[in-house]
Symmetry: C2
Subunit: 342 residues, 2 copies
């Protein structure tokens, strides 16, 4: 076991695009355990669009990360020391331990996961926050029903790729928007979307007229900006727009761009609704059971895009906002993962 | 009875603010009646923000008014000739006869109204489309509940003034936004709103912090633009934003301004929902019964802002978009109204 811990702490709040300069790389001793606590070796760190918002000052659905604090992140790891009856050494756990190699946490804050049921990084993706976001956003907030047309942006991302597959499993016609032919080919090929729109090379408005001739019943929006406006212009009567994120806007230095076509909500008697997945915490078990069943049946494909090495964290985050990942982006802490398999 | 009819027909589609130049004043003979029809002398013409949208080309919830067509408008009038068993001469009727002095219509398209129950122009306001819009927008789309904080823009207008009073009757705390001390004094004084914000002389964001310390549960939006953004920034958890109109944006030459604070919907798990009141047609009787009861009890004040004379139509429309009316703006066709009272 390494005697030292490494961390990325928030050094300053970015005004625009996030970069390495906003983090401080810190080396410190691993703290001692107290009763009821466990020491976790972090194996995978989750990279999520929401991280950009947590770096801003001001009120949101969670407090911002403080300057000097370890950057907040979802993690999967392995218990390597324990002073709790609830967790044995060797147990695998999912939690919010942040961007660091080791962490001491109360056993109650650690959720034991089963590496036999699904690969560890899947617990940060389809069986983690992104998967829950896709499930409740589509079915609960969006109320997608069989036979409806569902449009999904960032459709090759962690949330979008799962949301689109769930919509297919529920009998919807599914159109995905993604950047580049590789992602578009993946969602229509392997994932079974009915159509894909490559926003980098196509006129999204024209493509929506082609692929959604009856209009859009549910738009699951992960991106905001121009694509949100194009989708609003194609809503069907009674449509639901699920506001899950706005990744195109998170690094804007100027203020957010608002959807200038929002009056389509009036014309089409439609609604636009935001949600925060942690509100559904009590229903995670129900969703995870259904999702795990689909994964083991091969009906839901969980793909992770793995970046190697703890020190690559700032670059991996930049990759996320550049839209370069396909599937759920995770950081693998290489040596530790090897140790785990040993 | 005058032998000639006068009309305002749509002459061209305005790019920005609407004016007299967009209408053609036409004189023509009154057409003959066929079986099942009635001839109506128009007594009052309704002036509504929605008229601006009907003058634009393109898809909306109703077809645009065609160039050369009589401008669409709600009307109240009196039957002066009839070839229908359903309507006797002397009956008062509400309908969509457009901006003209006389009209021939199928009796089925004319709704008989009772001038004993409420003054005639009230059938264009609190007991007409604006009143129905206020009622269903607030209670059905907004789902306002006792004890909640309701914010209403254009609060001294035809819809806003009624929506705010209904919210008070339902036990809500009600804050209105209006332009100028006279309107603000009217809504807090005579109408009983809990607070008023004068957007022409106050910082709306600061005033909202003061008057909505617990946040806004229901925002009934008639205006769009900066005020919608300010309201979004003050939403309470689970808020409902009712998109009823966007009068601040209707005469924009450039594209609409979208609400850049829309991500507040996510943070606050809130929804923004549009509606079109004609969808509630089957429930008008229920709403009209309740509203008429409130009016006769003196618990709901229906105020009309009356502009005199048919030829004043274009100026009255300009007055509406300048925000100069208090209460429901109607045009009285002076001579005919006098004839009616004789």
């Amino acid at each position: 076991m390494a005697a030292l811990n490494h961390q990325f702490r928030l050094a300053s709040r970015p005004a625009g695009m996030v970069g390495r300069e906003h983090f401080e790389y810190v080396e410190e001793a691993i703290p001692d355990l107290r009763d009821g606590q466990a020491l976790v070796e972090v194996l995978y760190i989750s990279l999520d669009p929401a991280m950009r918002g947590w770096m801003n000052e001001g009120r949101s659905y969670v407090p911002p990360v403080a300057i000097g604090e370890v950057m907040r992140a979802g993690t999967v790891g392995r218990v390597i020391d324990s002073r709790s009856d609830k967790l044995a050494v060797g147990a695998h756990v999912s939690s919010w331990l942040g961007v660091q190699e080791y962490a001491v946490a109360d056993a109650d804050a650690l959720i034991e996961i089963d590496p036999e049921l699904a690969p560890l990084p899947t617990y940060l993706g389809a069986l983690g926050m992104p998967g829950m976001t896709a499930y409740f956003g589509l079915l609960d907030v969006g109320a997608a029903k069989e036979g409806e047309t569902v449009l999904i942006s960032a459709a090759a991302g962690a949330v979008g790729s799962v949301a689109g597959q769930i919509a297919k499993l529920k009998g919807c016609r599914v159109v995905g928007i993604a950047g580049g032919p590789e992602k578009c080919g993946w969602i229509t090929g392997e994932l079974g979307f009915d159509a894909a729109i490559d926003y980098k090379h196509e006129d999204v408005g024209r493509a929506l007229r082609q692929h959604c001739p009856e209009g859009i019943n549910v738009y699951f929006d992960n991106v905001g900006g121009e694509i949100l406006d194009a989708a609003l212009a194609r809503l069907a009567r009674g449509a639901r727009v699920v506001i899950c994120g706005a990744i195109s806007q998170y690094n804007n230095i100027d203020s957010m761009r608002g959807p200038s076509n929002y009056m389509s909500l009036l014309v089409n008697r439609a609604r636009m609704q935001g949600f925060v997945v942690i509100d559904y915490l009590s229903r995670y078990p129900e969703a995870m059971r259904e999702m795990a069943g689909w994964i083991s049946d091969g009906r839901l494909i969980a793909r992770e895009d793995v970046v190697e090495g703890f020190e690559a964290f700032p670059d991996a985050l930049a990759k996320l906002f550049a839209g370069e990942n396909t599937g759920k982006l995770v950081l693998r802490l290489a040596d530790e993962a090897a140790a785990d398999q040993a």
